[in-house]
Symmetry: C2
Subunit: 303 residues, 2 copies
């Protein structure tokens, strides 16, 4: 194989901008009057996702679908999840399944099959490395055989990341450095297999919540593409995202900021919003985010 | 609330023995001739689970359903997953959903709703603590409001557990000690809320793969009930499990050893096995495991 999904994502972000639209579409993010027009919350969720995907073409590098919100709607929710993955694939940009799975070998193999083939097939997934690096092997097998990519949790954007990820280690550094070291060794190992790829097939989740460590993290992992949460509704600033966007780059997720953009419409409380109204507001918010991120990147890196 | 699901699980293990039957039911664990009798692999999987549940009553403290194998079968697989949870509930013993989810607050709330209510409702789930202790809060909310329980990954049974869980920390101890300290503080915090409970609502996953640390782990967490993988097919010995079963106790998982017990039948390769044959073999293996575990516990603790 000459390239892989992560390199394609990097290309897409180069072409369409660094935004990653997060489809964490909880029914509570949809106004009542719009929900009521559908036979079920999961149908409304898929319709909203589809309308956003149609309207944001060219302004997003990819979409990320957070499976938790779909699991919370049961079987019907997972049908909406599968439909959403399919709709993104038709749009031509990569789809990231934010599943954060992690388990021992046999079970990880089942998760890899679940999310790299069949109804829930995604281009790229997110993976939790806590149980150890043997748990990554089944996902790497799909990288080799099918060009799939995955992001490993490195520095997450929640306050609790100090509890384990930042614990100081006896021989220097912190826990997340051990994960990062593995990511660099994976980059070395897989480089010869993908001669046309311009980044490692395995990326890292790096939240943009602290300016002090953003640039250091960017420098430490020269071939590792980043999935960057914490921008927008989570409170991260565009400037920190910009630091992480330099060099090999990354994609900056915004979920609630886009999905609930309709709440800022003058007609938000009118009880008369339509699916068109809320999807247009989402698409407009996506465009604004793209513009903000590109400007911040230009400013930060003096491009 | 006077008690919670973890205390009920402890009671069930006292009454029915410490075995936890793991329904990690991959279709490849079912002989071809049995699979062919069903319209789909997921139907065969549910029928096998149901037959095992019916035949193992009284010989297992609980059942653990590993969601990865069901996700790998797509929507139909998740239907079989929901049916399996329901079948265990009808049997009267607790059901553990082995989902190992872990995510930031809003997303963790969606996972908690997904697996503590609705179609995928379980009594107890497994949780990955890597992103930090704020990620546990939404699950604790269901402990308080609905008596739900969960197991947190502490010392897993795979070789890769040395990569992060066992990393030495600058101020002494290893990474998993930080998780364990949190588990003890949760036990303290929740004790007054559940006056009839005899253990903490939050347990720990502790693999029985190393004798050297088993007793130390058991002593370090006096109120924490253990979910113990690594016995049987994963190579753990009953003696190590027994060390972990002392004091407040635990439940010892066996999945493949039970699900593929039919492979040891003299007729295994005859091409004529029936669902009855394989379910009886599974139930017989469960009974043997129960007997072995009880004997090992008696011997270890000189009861």
């Amino acid at each position: 194989m000459n390239t892989h999904a992560m390199s394609k994502l990097q290309d897409s972000c180069e072409k369409n901008g660094p935004l990653c639209i997060g489809l964490d579409t909880d029914p509570s993010y949809i106004p009542q009057e719009v929900l009521r027009a559908y036979t079920s919350p999961s149908e409304a969720v898929f319709a909203y996702n589809k309308a956003i995907i149609e309207r944001s073409a060219g302004n997003t590098g990819c979409y990320k679908v957070q499976i938790a919100y779909y699991e919370a709607m049961g079987i019907a929710g997972l049908q909406a999840y599968a439909q959403t993955l399919k709709a993104v694939k038709s749009s031509g940009v990569p789809v990231i399944a934010d599943i954060k799975r992690g388990d021992i070998a046999d079970t990880a193999r089942a998760y890899a099959r679940a999310h790299f083939t069949g109804e829930f097939e995604a281009d790229i997934i997110t993976v939790n490395p806590y149980m150890g690096f043997d748990t990554l092997e089944p996902f790497l097998d799909f990288t080799k055989s099918a060009g799939k990519g995955f992001f490993v949790l490195l520095r997450t954007s929640n306050p609790g990341m100090i509890d384990i990820e930042k614990l100081p280690l006896a021989d220097g550094g912190i826990v997340l450095d051990a994960v990062g070291k593995k990511l660099n060794s994976i980059a070395d190992e897989y480089r010869p297999h993908f001669i046309n790829a311009t980044c490692s097939p395995v990326g890292a989740v790096v939240g943009c919540t602290e300016e002090s460590d953003a640039l250091a993290l960017r420098e430490a992992y020269p071939e590792v593409f980043f999935l960057i949460p914490g921008y927008g509704a989570q409170g991260g600033a565009a400037r920190i995202a910009a630091a992480l966007l330099g060099k090999v780059g990354g994609t900056v997720n915004s979920s609630r900021g886009i999905l609930t953009a309709w709440k800022k419409l003058p007609t938000a409380d009118s009880g008369s919003l339509t699916m068109d109204d809320i999807a247009n507001a989402a698409a407009e918010a996506a465009l604004q985010s793209k513009v903000e991120l590109l400007a911040a990147k230009k400013e930060y890196w003096k491009l």
